[in-house]
């Protein structure tokens, strides 16, 4: 159980910068999630903490020790890989016990600990099987077991659930949450699934790839709630939430936000520049009858999911997506509608820097 600090960490592969000036402090016992689109360097950052990649610059500290030059085996961190990385020719017991075998613990002691871990993970009946004869969820648990048995200071997870099917993913997610409640160790968890990020993390760090414009990868770090309700920039705003947040260019006209010349907001606006990017979450937009005040549009497509409808509406400002949770409403493609939103639900971003203004 340790804190982990990344200070100005950078990584360059073959002259291509992948990570730049990454500053993250993971608190002792915290569950931090790295999330971001594919290729943005999440795994790279995690692997640098594990010691599997060298740093190009910067410092990584685990507890109070600078570990830049410490071999992976000596950092006392455990990692669960996306592929589980189980030793296919070893039994479950040997897989779980491997870290202890390497340490040269006596056999009896290893057996005892393996049984204990297997017990908590409900793997006891499978101890003599090979990984090939396990289901996906069981393999996942073996990988967890191998990590747990070492009693590491830090747990690292690299998309541990992405190889599982939807149902299993949900139940293994719960399993990790339970595990986490039991052993209060620092955990860093990489995923690109926003549901996982939102539901599991104490805090979330949103990564973006380094492209023209981004001078660093870390877009925002904070609790799930902070990120969803007050995204720091357009990237984070659009990254979290399905359907995505609608972003349109708006003009300020007194207290109203005008979109394509129509008043979109219902009341007093916060401080904004004359022109800005307006963000509206699909569930925040209210659908009114045609002709009512607001942005007018026509329903292009209705996706009925049973418990909700996702309505795609063509407007002069482009397609706006609205989520209707009320099952009793039955919007019909082709209908004309008007759209409005409460001003306190608006997100305002700078059109140039794309940073949040309100």
């Amino acid at each position: 159980m340790s804190k982990v600090d990344l200070e100005a960490v950078s990584k360059t592969y073959d002259k291509v910068e992948i990570l730049k000036d990454l500053d993250i402090s993971v608190r002792d016992g915290e569950f931090l999630v790295f999330v971001g689109p594919s290729g943005c360097g999440k795994s790279t950052a995690l692997r640098m903490i594990a010691g599997l990649e060298e740093l190009s610059a910067g410092t990584i500290r685990i507890g109070d020790r600078v570990v830049n030059n410490v071999a992976p085996g000596k950092r006392n961190v455990a990692m669960v890989f996306q592929s589980y990385a189980l030793y296919p020719h070893k039994t479950v017991a040997q897989n779980i016990g491997y870290p202890l075998i390497v340490q040269g613990l006596p056999k009896a002691e290893i057996n005892r600990q393996v049984r204990e871990v297997a017990e908590t993970l409900e793997l006891t009946p499978f101890l003599d099987r090979r990984p090939a004869h396990l289901s996906g969820g069981q393999r996942q648990r073996v990988a967890l077991g191998r990590a747990i048995i070492r009693k590491p200071d830090v747990f690292l997870f690299d998309e541990p659930l992405s190889n599982l099917d939807a149902d299993l993913r949900v139940s293994m997610r719960a399993e990790i949450i339970r595990l986490r409640e039991r052993i209060k160790t620092t955990m860093i968890y990489v995923t690109h699934d926003q549901t996982e990020a939102m539901t599991m993390g104490d805090r979330i760090a949103v990564f973006a790839p380094l492209r023209a414009g981004n001078d660093r990868n870390l877009m925002q770090i904070g609790t799930p709630d902070e990120l969803y309700s007050r995204p720091a920039n357009v990237f984070v705003a659009r990254f979290l939430g399905t359907p995505k947040m609608n972003i349109v260019t708006a003009h300020r006209d007194g207290q109203l936000a005008l979109v394509s010349g129509n008043a979109f907001s219902e009341g007093a606006l916060p401080d904004t520049p004359a022109e800005f990017l307006l963000g509206a979450r699909p569930e925040d937009i209210r659908l009114g009858e045609a002709g009512a005040p607001g942005l007018s549009g026509k329903i292009a497509l209705v996706e009925a999911l049973g418990y909700e409808h996702v309505v795609h509406i063509d407007t002069d400002a482009g397609t706006i997506v609205v989520r209707l949770a009320d099952k009793t409403l039955r919007p019909v493609a082709g209908d004309a509608v008007s759209l409005r939103i409460a001003p306190d639900l608006l997100h305002v971003f700078d059109p140039i820097s794309q940073q949040r203004l309100n």
Binding site: A8, L55, A57, G58, T59
Partner: protein
Amino acid sequence: MATVERHHMSIGQIISQVWRYGLAIFMALVFVFPFLIMLTTAFKPSGEIFSAPPEFWPRSWTLEHFGTAMTQFPFWRYLSNTLLISVLSVVGTLLASPLVAYSLAKLRWPGRNLVFITVLATMMLPPQVTLIPIYMMWNGLGATNTYIPLIVPAFLGTPFFIFLIRQFLMSIPNELIEAAKMDGASEWRVYWDIVLPIARPALVTSAVFQFVWTWTDFLNPLIYINDDKAYTLSIGLYSFLGSHGVQWGPLMAACVLFTLPAIVIFILGQRYFIGGVAAGALK
């Protein structure tokens, strides 16, 4: 701090770099050194070849041995003989082996497993067992002292290549074949349009193997070819030794000439070849 560390890392990197390349160069040298000797000996004047202790680098270079080799030994004729046999064998291999492999990998028919096991079994059969009867057979057909015994077997499918190509074909998704069938293609068309082009790495590997094997084959031409005009390079080289005593210079020059075409083929095919060798072995 950061820069210090970067510097520190790169010293470690340099050391590991030196170690890695040192090892690799050492190993490569062990393999290539004899070959270099062959080259330099071929270019050494006769007088220099026998020196004790031996010297690696020629003091003066000469092309004389190549001249000797090419005139005393009908190099061009042997070259074209060997090329003819090798090319025809390759053609035979490419025609026959993939057909059989396709049948074993992608067609479903009763007896297919039995045939596959037979292919595997024949791979293990020492050629000595069949050498004599096959010789008798060709002899009976009056085919000794022709290239027929050297070429025809390739047209009947070589177990090793059947195996290698079959393993490769197993990795082609059935869906591709099914898609083509849904598009209306016949079995033959599927084979020709879809399977063969996709199997190119395996085919190139087989072709390179077959070429090099035929090119360097010794025992078969030794047994079947009697007329020195029909010799292949390896038999020619062997008898060159017999008829000219050991003239190391010309001999090494002849070896160089003999080896070059195989190397060229290897370089042309190596992209596919290396992968293909492994593919055959791994599954």
